[in-house]
């Protein structure tokens, strides 16, 4: 009796299936592993205390920076610069930000927005107050 060898264990349909599944699964990585949305933005600037704003509430903020005022707008979980005292307006051109960990900044004005998510991952065993 001849030794079958590994090749004859796979039928044609098996090989096609394997290939198809590999492609499908690769796509799943891309699809499911997009970054998570942020819940709030941390605003830092030289002339104010660091504070947080909730991304779910639509609002506009005037933030005082090194050169002048930057205007920040929040709608539907996204945040962006709409006006700033800098010259090149690169901060405004960077558009809307919404992903966890994203950072937008007006460097000349020293105003930065950092997106973060809630502490639900690091949930507390008890709150002291």
């Amino acid at each position: 009796m001849t030794n079958p060898g590994l090749q004859s264990i796979f039928t044609l349909a098996d090989k096609i299936l394997f290939l198809f599944c590999s492609i499908l699964i690769s796509y799943c990585y891309y699809f499911f592993w997009q970054s998570t949305p942020a819940a709030y933005a941390i605003i830092k600037s030289p002339h104010q205390d660091t504070y947080r704003i909730d991304l779910q509430t639509s609002q506009t903020h005037q933030v005082k920076g090194a050169l002048g005022t930057s205007t920040i707008e929040v709608t539907q979980g996204q945040v962006r610069f709409t006006a700033s005292a800098c010259q090149n307006k690169l901060c405004i051109k960077s558009g809307w930000h919404q992903h966890n960990g994203a950072v937008a900044a007006c460097l000349p004005n020293r105003v930065s927005i950092q997106l973060a998510s809630t502490h639900s991952e690091t949930s507390y065993d008890a709150i002291n107050f």
Partner: protein, 353 residues
Amino acid sequence: MTKRFSLAQRLNLVIALCSLLYLSACSKPVTEFHETVFTMGTLVEVTIVGEDELLAEQAYIAILDDFNYMHNTWHPWQRNALQRINSLLQTGAPFSLAPSILPLIEKSQVLSEQSQGLFNPAIGQLIKLWGFHQDNLDDVFGPPEDSEIQTFLKTLPRMSDIKIKNLSMSGTNTNIQLDFGGFAKGVAVDATIEHLQEFGIKNAIINAGGDLRAIGQHGDRPWRIGIRDPRMDDVIASVDIKGDESVFTSGDYERFFETDGKRYHHIIDPRTGYPANKTRSVTVIHSNAATADAAATALFIAGPEQWQEIARSMGIKYVMLIADNGDIHMNPAMAERIQFVTEQKNIMLSQTL
């Protein structure tokens, strides 16, 4: 005739035995018991981890009884043993010790002295003048007259005005009125934690309205405690505790009333007769809950200028004080332990305690 086991049979036997051993090494998942109850005038959360559910429930019911008893016995203005003692102290005549109140008095005397009088439960009359003795603050319409406060201060009662000799107690100041206010919470937390330990429980948190003591740890990691901002509803910092530690905070936001746009809170400075106004909140980490409770009050009153001195005399090793202007004061050991959620710019480190 005995049969010899073949190799295959022996192999099977070995595999079977190994499987049995392997199976027997399986451990139970970590169980969590969590209950919240309104008692001692506040919301109390009990967390027990890693114990049989039935045992945790039994222990919980037992400490519910404890809380009820302590609340009724130590309430400053209900008709109870404390009220009788207060009346008897004011007469100046000796009377026999009340076992239910004695531990409170003895602990308070020690802590009062260590805090240089800033922690002073003997000023119940003053608390009553302000209206903070009652559970409901709706009837309070404003601060008391300054003249009343000054009169009181002239004969300021202290814990040292209570003399204990053998089995009898007497008071040497007719103005003494014991009001253990928040201190009773610390003592209650200690008593109930100890009661849990009597049940054999090793990992638990008892959180009485934000002031807590934790023993053991959460499974295989320390307990993570969030510390709330005195002004916003948010958690501003977290601290990990394990072993046996209490975290207590005194704040100007806990009990207060507002008149003419001014806020008057319940932490009265025995030296001035008025609420201590240089501090927003004080957070203390210490092993014993009663001491942590008294220290949080005393350090609040001590304020940004004096807190280090009082912390040293009380033996407190971890303090965070948020001053009225928002500055955060703490000692280096506390700074190492505490993790702020967002970067804080106005942190003032003190000397080592």
